[in-house]
Amino acid sequence: MHELPQQLANGLALGALYGLIAIGYTMVYGIVQLINFAHGEIFMIGGFGALSAYAILPTGTSLLIAIPVMIVGGAATSVAVACAAERFAYRPLRSAPRLAPLITAIGLSIALQQLVWQFYPDAKKAVSFPEFKGAAFKITDSLAIQRADLFVLILAPLCMLALGVFVQKSRSGRAMQATAQDPDTAKLMGINTDRIIVMAFAIGAAFAAVAAVAYGLDKGQINFEMGFILGLKAFTAAVLGGIGNIYGAMVGGVVLGLAEALSIAYIEDIPGMSQLGGGAWSNVWAFVLLIVVLLVRPQGLLGERVADRA
């Protein structure tokens, strides 16, 4: 068990990344009851936007200056794409049966992947992303935190906090809560629900772009397919934490990340389970956990806050 702290750190960093992406699923679902399956691609496009922003900077710019620029560039790109998707793909279908926007989202996800593959220079295979150079921070003998992991571990709670304050305290945040509870009444009360829905998409996309920058800095590469699996995992995290609940997204992400890391590290050490551990089974265990949680708490770990609907 001597590597436990290290594996916990790995799981936390992975979970924070899931959580950042899961916010986008949860916000949009909370307000329009749509599972935006193209959100993984919004994350991916945020990564490519950040890379383009980096390319504009003069070579040799220190990462301290480059990272904020990348986050802004990535967020601008992903927010633009998300708002366009909302306007042209989802809004026309808002009164259509539930399945129509869902299928649209899946189609959009494939289309966005293919567009990046086709038109972004060199995106037909993985493209290099500026990496955090330098050794990991040694905390103890058996625990070292990678610089990129530290970045996401600090940034994710900050983002969450900012979002929490925004939703609770600001006028737009209150309008958001009202829209989530009852869009028709909110409209009657003079809330511009269209604007609120666009805002939900935009916030989710901006968080996804932050996640994409963190991902790129950690892995040193991004590719056009990266949104698919991560999006699926983040969606799982959102459901695990309670879809529609923004804090739930983060909690679900962390629980999922830890479940994956720990199952890779320790399941095979349990007597009689040697064949069921390691990387081959980590996704299985993550989903077993999801099912167990949903059996006990169908509304997810923190539950849906906006359960005022009949």
Binding site: N10, E131, A265, G279
Partner: protein
């Protein structure tokens, strides 16, 4: 009476049909002043032209295209014009099977080059086998494809007489890697990771057997999932296992990330893999942390073979958008083998293609022998290449550098 008219009718129909197929289509832009009608023969290509392995797939497609163009330019087979039809399998077995069916349906296709992935080939073999259409893979390395599922137990049985390959098998590659790592690199404790795919898992198993036989120790095993990117937990297991080396059975997208993340834990161990990771993308994908990583690849480095000089020049002259990548030479040779087989079939039939050209091409392929880009090209009784040359590559200064080339003997 009725019988006779029926007989006449069928004869007429069959001859008609045969003339139609034998004549083939006339070259669209008939600029040849020879005036003679040229028969079109299509060489099919199946490879991942999109997706994460497209770098390799595009190289395969272009190299076969180059072989066809060269044959046309030199009038290699008089009266025959070669064309290439390339289909995209996205490295997905089901797509490969659909492509195989499509190629079988095109009467002008007399041979197919591809696929890249062993898993895709498994799904294609049956389709080509029942249609008697020859298939030459430039990259499949799984032994079962040619030697049957029980090759590991020493029972060799060729499943499909239509299947050939210019690539050496994993048996050769895995053992060669184990010998290099144990003897030349002096590594005794290895941690083995594979990606659960036909190619990766097979290669890792062969490597593990040979490494243990030599006296080395396997201190741990793990698996990764294709298209995942976070292997930090597996990387930490490698570190705490005390391994002095890692062997990875899989492809470069996962291999590059795994190598990178192992180095990040602070473990100073080389990662070794098969030809699936021997691609520039393995290095470029993940910074400069790959120094000292190793890979085996089939054949000798194309750049160093005299036979390949012309290929490289011609490839450059054609101005293809993508590089010829790891399998370019093998793809050119696979395409050329089909061309040579067609040539032999036509020559044996006084310069024309016989009605059962496909079956004849399969037979002729078993007998081809020529000096190709990658050395001598010929196939043994299982359809495997007789060329057992291998090379170990090492990452030095951000590039794959060949460190040892040898002919493998059991």
């Amino acid at each position: 009476m009725r019988h006779r008219s029926l007989l006449v009718l069928t004869t007429v129909i069959t001859t008609g049909a045969l003339t139609l197929t034998a004549c083939g289509s006339r070259d669209g832009d008939s600029k040849d002043n020879g005036g003679g009608k040229k028969t079109t023969v299509v060489i099919g290509v199946d490879a991942p032209l999109t997706g994460s392995l497209s770098a390799l797939g595009q190289g395969i497609k272009n190299s076969v295209d180059l072989a066809a163009k060269t044959a046309n330019k030199n009038n290699e087979v008089p009266g025959i014009e070669f064309k290439v039809e390339a289909l995209d399998d996205q490295a997905v077995p089901a797509s490969g099977q659909a492509n195989a069916t499509k190629l079988v349906g095109n009467k002008d296709v007399l041979g197919v080059v591809g696929p890249l992935n062993s898993g895709v080939a498994q799904q294609m073999q049956g389709v080509f086998g029942s249609a008697n259409l020859a298939q030459v893979s430039p990259a499949n390395t799984n032994p079962a494809l040619s030697q049957g599922d029980n090759w590991g137990k020493g029972e060799f049985k060729r499943g499909f007489k239509t299947y050939f390959r210019t690539a050496a098998t994993d048996v050769v590659q895995g053992k060669f890697a184990a010998q290099y790592l144990f003897k030349d690199a002096g590594k005794k404790k290895v941690f083995i990771v594979d990606d659960k795919q036909t190619y990766g898992a097979g290669l890792a198993a062969i490597f593990a057997d040979e490494f243990k036989k030599l006296g080395g120790e396997v201190v741990g095993t793990d698996h990764v999932t294709v298209k995942e990117t976070d292997f930090s937990s597996t990387a930490d297991k490698v570190k705490s296992s005390g391994a002095d080396s890692v062997y990875f059975g899989g492809q470069y997208p996962e291999g590059g990330l795994l190598a990178d993340q192992i180095k990040k834990t602070g473990a100073v161990v080389p990662l070794m893999g098969g030809d699936g990771i021997q691609d520039p993308a393995f290095i470029s994908a993940s910074g400069e942390a790959n120094e000292g990583d190793l890979a085996t690849s089939i054949g000798y480095p194309v750049e160093k073979l005299d036979t390949a000089k012309k290929f490289i020049e011609d490839y450059k002259a054609e101005g293809y958008k993508d590089p010829y990548a790891a399998y370019g030479g093998y793809s050119y040779d696979a395409g050329w083998a089909v061309i040579q087989a067609v040539k032999a079939v036509a020559a044996a039939n006084s310069g024309k293609l016989p009605t059962d050209a496909r079956a004849k091409v399969v037979e002729a392929l078993g007998k081809v022998s020529f000096e190709g880009v990658t050395g001598k090209v010929a196939f043994d009784e299982y359809g495997d290449t007789t060329n057992k040359q291998l090379t170990v590559y090492k990452v030095e200064g951000g590039k794959w550098v060949d460190v040892k080339s040898d002919t493998f003997n059991q």
